[in-house]
């Protein structure tokens, strides 16, 4: 220790260090429940020692100069961050699928009384009861009614599924906007982080902010992140760079002939096909799951129309005329189609229930119609109409179940990963309280040392030279 003023300097700088320690603790406590916040710690290190003066008899070599804050450490597990991001992508994809598919399943309620299969059953039963009493007008009216119900039920499904497909477009557009905005922000943060690291600062909060954005990006579309030596994050999605240094590459959208949104890179025009994250879920529902349902319904409606019309033409109506069209099937575009009853059935006498001309008591054609329910006409002769749609319901149910299971499984994995990270980098209030008390005590001790030095100076300045007074 060279001189007392130097000691004051030591005490003051130590007090300032503890003040910094307390500030960091305050920051931790304040952010104890902030999402994505990683706890920080002021790492203390002894001050740079100074050599004592060689003059005089108190030469001891180097002496310490108190304490200083070396740097602010951030508790961080980079490998868990990467795992969490990929799990987030997986989990949000399944969560989205699970939500949309469950919604479709609930809308159609195929296992309820209003499902399509009860309507098919009613249609077949309508033919069978007409066969029992073919001249009966009220049975004919009933058959027209249940047939119209069946057609409506199919049309209703087609409309709903198509409008769900269009709904995905809006969600996709919104996601693309979000990705672009995230990319811009990450690029900007990259610049600031590199700048800070360049001057040996720890841009902890900026890194937290960037990681939060990267997790949002992972939820949307997965992607991989490489942190460069200079602190920059290199982000790629779908094998294409999204952020390189301070540059962000933007995505743009176009609409195809079916009015469906497609994504491409603005810079080079290459298509962007998402393979994970919410966006991949949206595309899968829009381009695979829903079209599958529509194709199944179309197949059913088309074959039903063909078979019923063919058999209907074999028969004779109450007026002795050959049976005309029964159903009219029309299609526009790949997945838009419509089934309705032929207009001539406005008069139910036009139902051709008879197999022979002018035979009001002949219900044989109606019997053959009713027996079509047992005929293996779907799936290339492997299924009846009912069993075909039954398998479609079951297959869809399995899909929903898979999405539900994967969604809950992946969220379990995600929460255990998050727990691992929280365990490492989360803020523990107990710990902070302990550290706070310890820093506070150290601060107080330094202050006490300062008082002691002050007293020593008091003796030196005011008490010396008074000998004999």
């Amino acid at each position: 220790m060279g001189n007392l003023f130097g000691s004051i300097q030591n005490a003051v700088s130590s007090m300032l260090s503890y003040q910094q320690v307390i500030e960091v603790i305050e920051h931790n406590v304040a952010n104890a429940s902030t999402k994505g916040y990683r706890r920080q710690e002021a790492i203390l290190t002894p001050g740079v020692p100074t050599s004592t003066a060689r003059a005089g008899g108190n030469y001891v070599g180097q002496m310490g100069t108190g304490v200083r804050v070396d740097y602010i450490r951030q508790y961080n597990l980079a490998f868990i961050d990467a795992q969490i991001r990929s799990q987030l992508a997986e989990s949000s994809k399944w969560e989205l699928s699970s939500n949309i598919l469950s919604q479709i399943e609930a809308t159609f309620d195929e296992t309820g009384d209003d499902g399509l299969i009860p309507k098919l059953d009613a249609f077949w039963a309508g033919w069978q009861s007409l066969a029992d009493d073919p001249a009966n007008m009220s049975l004919r009216i009933n058959l027209v009614q249940v047939s119209a119900d069946l057609a409506d039920a199919i049309n209703n499904r087609v409309d709903t599924l198509n409008s769900i497909r269009q709904d995905q477009n809006n969600a996709i557009l919104q996601s693309v906007d979000e990705i672009n905005s995230i990319a811009t922000q990450v690029a900007k943060l990259n610049t600031e982080i590199t700048k800070a690291i360049g001057v040996n600062e720890s841009p902890n909060d900026l890194i937290d902010e960037r990681d939060r954005l990267l997790e949002q990006l992972a939820e949307l579309t997965g992607g991989t992140v490489n942190i460069q030596e200079n602190g920059e994050a290199l982000v790629t999605i779908g094998g294409h760079a999204l952020v390189v240094g301070s540059n962000a590459f933007e995505l743009t959208t176009t609409r195809d002939s079916n009015n469906l949104v497609q994504i491409s890179w603005e810079a080079d025009g290459r298509d962007f096909i998402p393979n994970s994250g919410k966006l991949a879920g949206l595309f899968e529902v829009r381009d695979v799951t829903v079209p599958e349902q529509l194709t199944g319904l179309k197949e059913l409606a088309e074959t039903l129309t063909e078979e019923i019309n063919e058999q209907h033409a074999e028969g004779y109506d109450l007026n002795g005329n050959e049976g005309d069209e029964f159903f009219v099937f029309s299609t526009s575009g790949d997945y838009y189609f419509n089934l309705k009853l032929s207009d001539n059935l406005d008069d139910p006498a036009h139902i051709a229930a008879a197999s022979s001309e002018d035979s009001p008591g002949d219900g044989n054609n109606a019997t053959i119609m009713a027996q079509l329910r047992e005929a293996l006409l779907m799936n290339g002769g492997a299924s009846t109409f009912n069993s075909y749609y039954n398998s479609q319901i079951t297959a869809f149910g399995l899909k929903v179940k898979e999405a539900n299971t994967k969604s809950s499984d992946s969220s379990v994995v995600l929460s255990s990963l998050t727990e691992m990270r929280d365990s490492e980098s989360g803020v523990s209030l107990d710990e902070e309280a302990g550290n706070l008390v310890s820093a506070q005590k150290s601060y107080q001790a330094c202050a006490r040392v300062l008082t002691a030095i002050d007293e020593m100076l008091e003796v030196l300045i005011n008490g010396t030279g008074l000998v004999g007074r």
Binding site: A32, S33, L101, S102, E105, A106, E110, T111, I117, P118, L120, D121, A122, W124, A125, Q128, S129, A131, D132, D133, A135, A354, S356, S359, P360, G361, D362, G363, N364, T367, A370, Q371, R373, E374, N386, S387, N390, S391, I393, T394, A395, F396, G397, L398, K399, V400, K401, N404, T418, E419, D422, S423, E424, G426, V427, S428, L429, D430, A433, V437
Partner: protein, 293 residues
């Protein structure tokens, strides 16, 4: 493992959500009394349930067909029995008229009765059931038999056989074609009447032969109808048994066991309360800050 307060809170929330989800599922089961709300709950059972429900519907329509067929055949049977009575009476009249003790006057009276039997027989042939003529083949809306002024009977129906589907591959013909079984009777009644009128014993004897074979024909139709009706009834009985079995099977697959659900529900309620209690403590857990003065 280092535990933070945030971890405890998030864990508590997750546990409450899970527990509430289970409670919700059980409550849904209890209120709908159905095991499966959606196909995704259990796709293979859902498929079985849907198939069973369709089978029940098909079975119901077969039962309804057998019921209607049975009604039709009962109506046919009544008419045929009446026809049989007429035929028997005609034979009886011819037998009476054949006796040598019968004079021209008596035979005249018998001929008159014979003539009214013809009218009766034609009326029976025109029996209708629920607005449909039952002996007219497919021409159910046309009067099948008309009695002409020359006592000949014209058949206006056809030979249409009404096939009724009473099982997946089981059909039955439900109608008796009137013309096949009645025309002989009509003709022979006229012949017998004319023979009685002309007081010709030999002709009466011939007519008797004709009437007897006509009676036999009507008898055959009664037997035929009876056999068919028995078959329909047997089928109906079998279909009704199947119905009971199907209902039981369906109920086993899709209905919840009330006892089981009630027990699970009350258990889950207890679990949920416990989870809430624990969560309450986890969320409001004290930290060292509360202890420092």
């Amino acid at each position: 493992m280092r535990v933070t307060h945030r971890m405890m809170t998030e864990n508590a929330i997750q546990n409450m959500e899970d527990s509430l989800q289970r409670l919700y599922t059980l409550q849904q089961k209890a209120s709908t009394m159905k095991n499966i709300q959606r196909a995704s709950d259990d796709p293979s059972t859902a498929s079985t349930v849907l198939t069973l429900r369709s089978t029940v519907e098909i079975n119901k329509s077969y039962i309804s067909t057998t019921q209607l067929s049975d009604d039709w055949m009962s109506a046919t049977n009544t008419a045929l029995e009446q026809m049989l009575d007429v035929a028997k009476r005609a034979v009886q009249l011819a037998q009476t008229g054949m006796a040598d003790t019968q004079g021209a006057d008596e035979r005249q009276a018998l001929a008159d009765e014979m003539g009214s039997l013809l009218q009766q027989a034609v009326d029976i042939g025109n029996t209708s059931h629920l607005g449909n003529y039952i002996f007219a083949g497919f021409s159910t809306t046309t009067i099948p038999f008309t009695l002409n002024s020359d006592s000949s009977v014209t058949y206006n129906g056809d030979t249409g056989v009404m096939l009724r589907q009473i099982g997946p591959s089981q059909t039955i013909s439900q109608n008796i074609i009137g013309n096949t079984y009645f025309s002989d009777l009509f003709e022979n009644i006229v012949i017998a009447r004319d023979a009685l009128n002309s007081n010709d014993s030999e002709a009466i004897q011939n007519a008797l032969g004709g009437l007897e074979s006509a009676l036999e024909l009507v008898n055959q139709s009664v037997t035929l109808n009876g056999t068919r009706q028995r078959q329909v009834k047997l089928t109906q009985e079998r279909l009704e048994n199947t119905q009971t079995d199907l209902d039981a099977l369906l109920s086993e697959k899709e209905d919840v066991s009330m006892i089981e659900v009630a027990a699970l529900l009350s258990n889950q309620e207890t679990v949920y309360q416990a989870v809430l209690e624990v969560s309450n403590r986890a969320i409001s857990a004290l930290s060292l800050f509360d202890m420092l003065s």
